[in-house]
Amino acid sequence: MSSFERRLSDGTRIEDLIDVDTREVRVRTLADAELHQIEMERIFGKVWQLLGHESEIPNPNDFMIRALGEDSVLVARDRDGEIHVTLNVCPHRAMRVCRSDAGNAPTHRCPYHGWAFRPDGAFIGSPVGGETMHGKLLDKKQLSLKKARVTLYGGLIFATWNIDGPSLDEFLGEMKWYFDMLFDRTDKGLEALGPPQRFVLRANWKSASEQSASDGFHAYTLHEWLGQLAGFGSGDLTSSMLGVEVTSKLGHSLRCMPMAQKFERGAALKDTSLSLAERLEILAPPGIIPSMAPELERHLSTEQIEQLLLQPPQVGNIFPNLIIEHVYVPQPGGKPLGLFAVHTYMPRGVDKMEFVNWLLAEKDTPQEMKDAMRKMGVRMLGTSGMIEQDDSDPWLDQAVLAKGAQARNITLKYQAIHNPERPSWWVGPAEVYEGFTKDDTQWNWWLQWRDLMLNAG
């Protein structure tokens, strides 16, 4: 069926929705139910998706239920410690097999007719075994829970239905050099500080996701209060607009702002005569403490460490619907408090989405610092977050407005274009733009969306 040429029912083709030359996207793209169904197949059926962190299910047979696109999946650790992701829909008659948000179970028995499955989804059998209730037309392997492909990255559990597609590494591409600075930098790695916050908004998942692709400019107006009340940019958010934006045609991006510009004490970081531990004492990334210096050196290259210290990634995204927050929150004492979070924006139909918010730290981050990071995370991000409740307000408006017959035909515009010249002093890979924030990262997001949507394969 995937080769059936799909047009929206008013005759529009997908390529009509995006004007590649003028960098415009029709507003209707945010509210079209037919388009949504195609996205579920061509995007969410293909990409890698974050489902959680392995620290959420530390023990053999631990499991949790998560959404992967609009499907319910079982994320379970088997008795050997390996993590599996399987469709939480019974292959018999489509009942929900596992009905608890989390727990520990060596087998999962479907309540409807009692078919049982292992944590890896393998079909064990049906009750009153001699009767072979499951019949003889299919063998047991064919009666297992549908299995996704899983890759752990810094303990983050990524999965995809695209069994033979690109690996996670290939999917992340050149940008992985940067992501490694965040997700894969200490010996014990990351942990989730708890289960994710979850809440549902009447918004299209793309509203959240295109914003996550490093929309830098909105902070100036939408988060105006951060300057006024929270000491961001020492009261002038213009400085937050400056920095380096890295991105790639795969739709990922990061905004890296110089510490020296954001914090008075940041200048001192440049003193390379200091040891790494000493420099971390001045200003360390979220969750990192000076004693972790050797670990950083083991995990990252010198270039990565230098960037992590001097101009670390602060916000960014992994295509299509993952946002990264690696933020340095100004504190009265002058030493910022770190904030480390990832969210996914999971669709629930064309006009709703679930916001899933994990707060992260290194496993070895001291408990007191974890507590502080968790509190700051809860206060600034997610459900009641003073920053992010405003971030999501436009999504709600877009969802309502994009239904209008006039509004649907105007465009979203991505016409602020960086000087294409790569800064000569920058050592990292991918597309690199310096200066005042522009729309190139978001535009890459849309180009990648377009590529996948035009690819029925």
Binding site: A102, F199, V200, L222, W225, V378, T383, S384, M386, Q389
Partner: protein, 185 residues
């Protein structure tokens, strides 16, 4: 007596009788608090809070009946506030013009019912359980957003009036149906 249990204590052990003076005062306190919140008199509301307040909303998870104690998750929160963060929230809402998620504000109505009160070891402190149904209307939506919850408060008498010293909000959803908790419960 601790608020960390899954089940409500207030009104069961060491109960303060319905209709007794303390009960009536607590009820007055909660009704007036709701009026202040609904009418966005947030600076007045801050005046009701103790300086050592803990204001939290733990996550909820779906669990089988025999694991009911695990439905309240206190390792992660929708709110985890102290007096400083609450004051910052109020300052943001009242003193800036960029608290966009609640400016223009939604019209909220906090219906308070099922009030039960217990005494504590401290004669000036009371464990209070109340139910809240919050209706919330924004712009010209034709449907209300709803949130129901139990609130487990510690109310303290200070100089003849009450202060809120602890509030734990037991929300009734595992994935909230509101776009944010930009309002207090």
């Amino acid at each position: 007596m601790t608020a960390s249990a899954t089940v409500t204590i207030a009104g069961f052990d060491n109960p303060v009788a319905i209709g007794s003076p303390v009960y009536n005062e607590v009820q007055t306190f909660l009704f007036k608090e709701a009026a202040l919140l609904d009418q966005i008199r947030l600076n007045d509301w801050v005046g009701l809070l103790a300086e050592d307040i803990l204001y939290t909303a733990p996550l909820r998870q779906t669990r089988p009946t025999h694991e009911f104690d695990k439905t309240i998750v206190r390792t992660m929160f929708h709110f985890e506030e102290d007096i400083g963060s609450l004051k910052l929230r109020v300052a943001r809402l009242m003193n800036t013009r960029s608290a966009y998620a609640e400016d223009p504000p939604s019209r909220c109505r906090r219906l308070i019912t099922n009030l039960l009160v217990s005494g504590t070891a401290n004669p000036d402190e009371f464990e209070v359980s109340s139910y809240i149904l919050m209706t919330r209307s924004r712009y010209d939506a034709d449907q209300f957003d709803l949130m129901s919850a139990e609130r487990r408060d510690l109310v303290r008498r200070v100089d003849g009036s009450f202060k809120l010293a602890r509030r734990e909000i037991i929300l009734d959803q595992s994935a909230l149906g509101m776009p944010n908790l930009g309002v207090f419960l």
